[in-house]
Subunit: 414 residues, 2 copies
């Protein structure tokens, strides 16, 4: 099944909104055996919408249109679809009833702009929206299908998951590419390629695909093939080979997050963690807490941004701060050990660095970060030199610190 | 100047990477007077690349191609471009020299995969990349231009900003739509539309555009017109009208972030802030720290995820936690006031809630959040009921808390 995603909205084209809908749809279709061949973003303009649909029907089986169904006046999608599919809008009583119930449940009255949302194209199948006021629409077009959905991500996801996919599975044969992903942290694309060159050659000689997908301080490695039981087994073999060779970098598979991998270990071993943070300002803690169930192993965190709080809350020696600076091995070790005691946890991560863009010196340029890990057996500390962009430095510090903790608890040499 | 963005990469289509490059390019062209009419995402397949370029040249003046220039073997873009523009790859000595210097500066040797990156199409203008190993390429095609850039976001941004835009400005007349944006927090799209219905009618009667751009707990409001001094003045008038009517919701303009707005106020009034967080796990603090210069007013934060730390670090009465629960007015007030004292700050934000997906009760369902603000004059606390998704609840708590603090310091009634 070939799929094209058409996202409508000036806000996407002028860069005010990131098109996360296309990302989510791509991942979902991929998992369910559909294959997204094109994603197109177009303006909220009738001619452009019609041209994009025309073109998409020449090359794919299923078109997903997102956006252009909000209650406010900037939307023209519904009228254009009526024209394209030669039908007209009629009030759908069931949808109208749901709209009234939706607003009543929230203690609010139905606004006039919302009642227009009960007008649906006569020949479309209505996809019931339990999370918002814009219904989805399913149009049959010869053997092909166009599905129109609101652009609000959680409404779009609900309509795909609970309404559209069950219907698509009935109508289409969904099988295609199989792929598996390894997640790495702390090694660049070129160096990773160099370290697994022989395995990569083997993978390609087998006719499989291998892609390096870099983002800030992480590279994902994706192996793909035609879907078959034999290929699945072969790919599993390659994944294990790479995991065995580079355990200090490979932390998980598919959509695994470092924080989840650590969380699972902590639960299994009944250990607890906390953080003492300076330059990251709580970002390591909030990454840990992004995993549900983190209250089982995460006790808390001290964000000691000022010198005074480093001393007062975790007992860092003020003389050491004066002598070595706040971004130093001695301070980060004291932060980790002091935090471990104050928070009463088994493992404590500490990070102190110069995130930038200001505050760098010749000795300690912007991007210099010390990370410490205090555990039941010992305390370790390591210095890193990242780049000159504040947000990337913070992100890299968070991920590097979590990977150091992972290596520490798994006793992997970095 | 009409622009089309073509992003190449299976990883974008199968949803493993979000296409933030297209977002950034859309915003930049928009600011500089270019107009992105289409964004297309295609596979790493020769025929698809050629078809997309052919099509794009029929409708725009400038094509930006991102992706497909990495050092590893999954890239075919450069060869396809050579074929399209009827040229061939030759080693560029200047690029090769830079590659050697690039790796030497990082204490590393040049890998063989990297030396291939010195091969450039003979008839392309090379765009020098100071931040990575993949050069950009500029192809002239009649009066039109195609620019090919690596997909790594910070390299792409550098090449556009420092290399491509200066050349584009020489060659094209860059003028078009003018738009300004207001940022709101805490009011839904329909309710916002209802509150400014008369202003909206006025805006539209003037022939201007108005768009509601919703994301989690924020709606941006964008007014657009043809660029002229008169229109600029009129739009400024509308912006002020809306700001005056809804000061409790409108917190800024354009790309303003709540944390920056608050930071500016704190610097101006020489006040300081800290946070005591439970369900948000440091996310409020890390949002504050995301602004550079935050060390001037942000002292630190206590993430008291466990009951014990709420009592030990900020002195919340254990009896109150037992009696009222950790998600309660009494506890969040004590967290805010205790944090203010412990951290030694003028203002302290506290948040305690049930982020989900587990932990809800009949009285306190998932999404229940108490937010407290302790200031020099008084302490306030407010209860919110968000949704059932963990990540959204955390995000909404962060933004709602920051907006409450903004209203508190600006003495705006919520």
């Amino acid at each position: 099944m070939k799929v094209e995603i058409i996202s409508i909205g000036d806000e996407l084209l002028i860069g005010q909104t990131v098109n996360t809908n296309a990302t989510w749809l791509g991942a979902e279709f991929s998992l369910r055996g559909g294959s997204v061949h094109h994603t197109t973003v177009i303006r909220d303009v009738k001619a452009d919408i019609i041209e994009a649909i025309d073109r998409a029907f020449t090359r794919v089986d299923v078109i997903i249109v997102t956006g252009g169904l909000g209650p406010t006046k900037d939307d023209i999608t519904k009228h254009t679809l009526c024209e394209y599919f030669n039908t007209e809008l009629v009030v759908n009583e069931e949808v109208l009833g749901r709209l009234h119930a939706f607003f009543k449940a929230r203690g609010k009255g139905v606004l006039e702009v919302n009642t227009k949302q009960a007008e649906m194209p006569e020949n479309a199948r209505v996809l019931k929206n339990d999370m918002g006021t814009a219904s989805g629409m399913w149009f049959d077009h010869k053997d092909k299908v166009l599905i129109s959905l609101p652009g609000v991500p959680y409404e779009m996801k609900h309509l795909m998951t609970d309404r559209a996919f069950p219907l698509l599975i009935e109508q289409f044969d969904m099988k295609t590419i199989y792929h598996r992903t390894l997640q790495t942290q702390g090694i660049g694309e070129s160096y990773l390629a160099e370290r697994i060159e022989d395995i990569e050659t083997d993978i390609r000689n087998n006719g499989f695909g291998l892609a390096y997908l870099p983002s800030a301080s992480q590279v994902r490695l994706r192996i793909s093939s035609e879907r078959s039981e034999l290929n699945k087994t072969k790919i599993e073999g390659y994944l294990r080979q790479i995991e065995d060779r580079l355990p200090q970098y490979v932390f998980g598979r598919e959509q695994d997050r470092l924080s989840e991998v650590i969380g699972k270990w902590m639960i299994k071993h009944q250990k607890t963690i906390g953080t003492v943070e300076s330059c990251t300002g709580g970002a390591i803690a909030s990454e840990i807490v992004s995993s549900s169930g983190s209250s089982k192993y995460f006790f808390g965190s001290l964000v000691t941004y000022s010198y005074e709080l480093k001393s007062k809350l975790v007992g860092v020696n003020m003389d050491d701060i004066q002598k070595d600076g706040a971004v130093s091995e001695s301070v980060v070790r004291q932060m980790a050990e002091g935090g471990r005691a104050t928070l009463g946890v088994d493992y404590c991560i500490a990070a102190s660095g110069i995130a930038g863009p200001n505050g760098g010196t010749e000795d300690k340029p912007v991007g210099t970060v010390w990370i410490g890990i205090a555990g039941p057996e010992n305390t370790s500390a390591q210095k890193f030199l990242f780049g000159d962009q504040r947000d990337r430095n913070i992100e890299r510090t968070v991920l590097t610190a979590l990977n150091l903790l992972r290596c520490e608890v798994l006793k992997i040499n970095k």
